[in-house]
């Protein structure tokens, strides 16, 4: 990440068949997305639905990171739930301490009766600045340590995926085991306030929604810049031919590490915002199953396309709520089918559908034109 200058525009297309980055189109899409998130949705949706949308947008924030790490970097991280959880717990710990007030411990600790003062590793989270910084920096630090170990020794592909999945399993089991200090299976629940604002007030819930929407747009812009920088090109190169990149004198481990760490930071931020939006963080939100569910949204929408991944994540999260409320069994079958169809038959996701159709049409219309 030494430089972010875009590639010199020479050919009409970048390697890999992507159309060259022109400023007008994405900017228009960005404005449209902002308009929908900030004007249309708050006007059209009830408070309840807007709250649900806020929750979906949190998964979309994770999907931005997955798009970068998996779509562009080829790193199938099945452990994003860990980073989501680290961010979420960091935020929830601060909010629980703030709810309890000075001199008191959070309610669940009183329940177990033993704790009269905060455990030492809870104490720094009483400071709001520390807690907010920790929601992003803690996941990034964990990812950096783990990633540098794994990538340096060239553990890759499926091995990396399995290790990241094992991490998610171990983290969830650990959280459940430390019941007295993490709330165990229940997690940290019943969060009332958010930096002095009462979360039961619908106005403040709307405020949380706006914060989440703004963060999402900001991160999409950031990821877009990153993907269209020299680093972004290098990342795709590492995904497609790691050895060749190594022979050219780059260290693929560093390239992958940056993508993994950035994705972890995004997931942490998403977890932190999820807590005020939903009011709970628990091991059920960070283990193997939620981690892999975070991936499926990006896969269905199109893992390598930011728009696809974000819309896919929102769409899958929405379908989950819509279907699982009424037909829980049908939802599981549907979800399984989504995995199979999206990955076996449409690996580029829905985002590639338009390109496929366009290519077919062009081939029919101008068979001599090789573009």
């Amino acid at each position: 990440m030494t430089t972010t200058t875009p590639l010199a525009p020479k050919a009409g297309r970048l390697p890999g068949g992507r159309r060259r980055f022109t400023a007008a189109r994405p900017a228009a899409g960005f404005v449209a997305a902002a308009l929908v998130l900030f004007a249309v949705a708050p006007l059209a949706l009830s408070d309840f639905r807007l709250g649900l949308l806020a929750k979906y947008l949190c998964t979309a924030i994770v999907a931005v990171g997955i798009c970068l790490a998996w779509g562009r970097g080829g790193l199938l991280t099945l452990g994003q739930g860990v980073f989501f959880g680290l961010g979420g717990y960091a935020m929830a710990m601060h909010l629980k301490i703030a709810d309890a007030g000075p001199g008191h411990v959070p309610d669940f600790m009183q329940l177990y009766g033993t704790a009269t003062e905060l455990p030492w590793w809870w104490r720094p989270f009483a400071n709001p600045v520390f807690a907010i910084a920790a929601t992003v920096l803690l996941p990034m630090a964990v990812a950096a340590i783990l990633g540098s170990f794994i990538f340096r020794r060239r553990v890759k592909g499926a091995y990396f995926a399995i290790l990241s999945q094992a991490l998610a399993a171990a983290f969830a089991i650990w959280l459940v085991g430390q019941q007295a200090t993490t709330g165990g299976t229940n997690g940290l629940t019943d969060i009332q306030g958010f930096f002095g604002y009462d979360l039961n007030d619908p106005v403040n819930q709307r405020m949380v929604y706006f914060v989440i929407a703004a963060v999402l747009l900001l991160l999409i812009a950031l990821a877009r810049q990153l993907m269209h920088s020299r680093y972004g090109e290098l990342l795709v190169a590492v995904r497609d031919s790691e050895e060749r990149v190594r022979f050219l004198g780059y260290d693929p481990a560093n390239v992958k590490l940056v993508a993994y760490v950035v994705a972890a930071g995004m997931a942490g931020l998403a977890g932190a915002l999820f807590v005020p939006a939903v009011g709970i963080i628990s091991p059920a939100l960070v283990g193997i199953v939620p981690s892999i569910e975070l991936v499926i949204g990006a896969a269905v929408g199109g893992r390598a396309s930011l728009t696809g991944a974000v819309l896919g994540a929102i769409g899958v999260a929405w379908a989950r709520t819509a279907l699982s409320e009424e037909f829980p069994a049908a939802w599981t079958y549907f979800q399984g089918l989504l995995f199979i169809v999206a990955l076996a038959f449409l690996p580029g996701g829905l985002a590639s559908l338009a390109a496929i159709v366009k290519r077919r049409r062009r081939n029919q219309g101008l068979s001599g034109d090789t573009a």
Binding site: R154, G157, A161, I162, I173, I292, T332, Q335, I340
Partner: protein, 298 residues
């Protein structure tokens, strides 16, 4: 002394279960490089097969004996079907295989929930296996449960049978040929597609056998497969792909490590420490304990 021996035996029996579960994977993942997340559900299928057989055959001992080959066939058939329907289209995209088979595993779990209900069910172990043998008597006795010994025996038998099959039979020779060099095997007249399917049948069938064994030590439920599958994959990753001996050693070492750590800390902390140990081990040997040496870059 008794404590150490007791922990050691617990470790060996955890290792035996791990080994049985991982054995099928060492064929499908280790040899064919297919990451089949539905492997856990093939274990579940084997366990439910035992349950169904025990309902229709009254004797617990007879039904267990019958369940072993039947579960092998049921899970093997499921595996061959999966290979034919989906996996053979995805041999060049291992990471996508992982997610596709995860989808299959979700559907199989829901299917089990719809057929057998969400709550766990139990089978009755035959009387021979409910007892235990006493190794050291006295005030602080050391005992081994018979069911654990049975699982250990089953694991050893399965390993020996699989390695003999791979080493001595024409089928085993074909499987090894395809694993080592697919193109060369194909031009030598081996039908690689058929070999893939057979190997997948055997690997999945072994999952079914593992499922039968698991009914002796725990309840049968729709999520029983997911609970064990990650550990099994870790055994293969640490053991190294392409051969069996790494998996065998690692299964028992991880079992012992888990048992000792659980004894000195708690179950949840032990899980985390085992994972840390695995990451540290991969620093030393990123390809696993043993690996097939090839000249390819990846």
């Amino acid at each position: 002394m008794t404590v150490i021996l007791g922990q050691l035996f617990t470790g060996v029996s955890i290792g035996a279960v791990l080994l049985l579960i991982a054995l099928g994977l060492s064929l499908t993942f280790g040899q064919m490089n297919v990451i089949n997340m539905a492997h856990g559900e093939f274990i579940m299928a084997g366990a439910y097969t035992t349950y169904v057989l025990q309902k229709s055959i009254s004797g617990a001992g007879i039904s267990l004996i019958v369940a072993l080959p039947v579960a092998f066939l049921v899970s093997g058939a499921l595996g061959a079907l999966l290979e034919w329907l989906l996996i053979r289209r995805l041999y060049l995209r291992p990471l996508d295989t992982l997610l596709v088979t995860w989808g299959v595993s979700l559907m199989l779990q829901q299917l089990a929930r719809d057929i057998f209900g969400a709550p766990n069910v139990q089978t009755r172990a035959p009387d021979v296996l409910t007892g235990h043998i006493t190794v050291i008597g006295g005030d602080d006795p050391l005992t081994f449960a018979n069911s654990r010994l049975f699982i250990l025996g089953l694991a050893v038998t399965a390993v020996v049978a699989l390695s003999l099959t791979l080493r001595l039979t024409p089928l085993g020779r074909r499987i090894r040929a395809v694993v080592q060099n697919r193109d060369l095997a194909e031009v030598s007249g081996i039908s690689t597609g058929r070999v893939d399917r057979t190997a997948f049948f055997i690997g999945s069938g072994l999952a079914g056998v593992a499922g039968v064994a698991l009914t002796l030590v725990g309840p049968i439920g729709p999520t029983m497969g997911t609970n064990v599958i990650i550990d099994a994959f870790l055994v293969i990753v640490v053991g190294g792909i392409g051969q069996l001996k790494g998996s065998v050693i690692v299964a028992f070492v991880l079992g012992a490590l888990q048992s000792v750590l659980e004894y000195s800390t708690t179950v949840s902390v032990a899980k985390v420490l085992v994972l840390v140990a695995i990451v540290a081990f991969l620093q030393w040997r990123p390809q696993g304990l043993y690996t097939l040496r090839t000249r390819s870059l990846v």
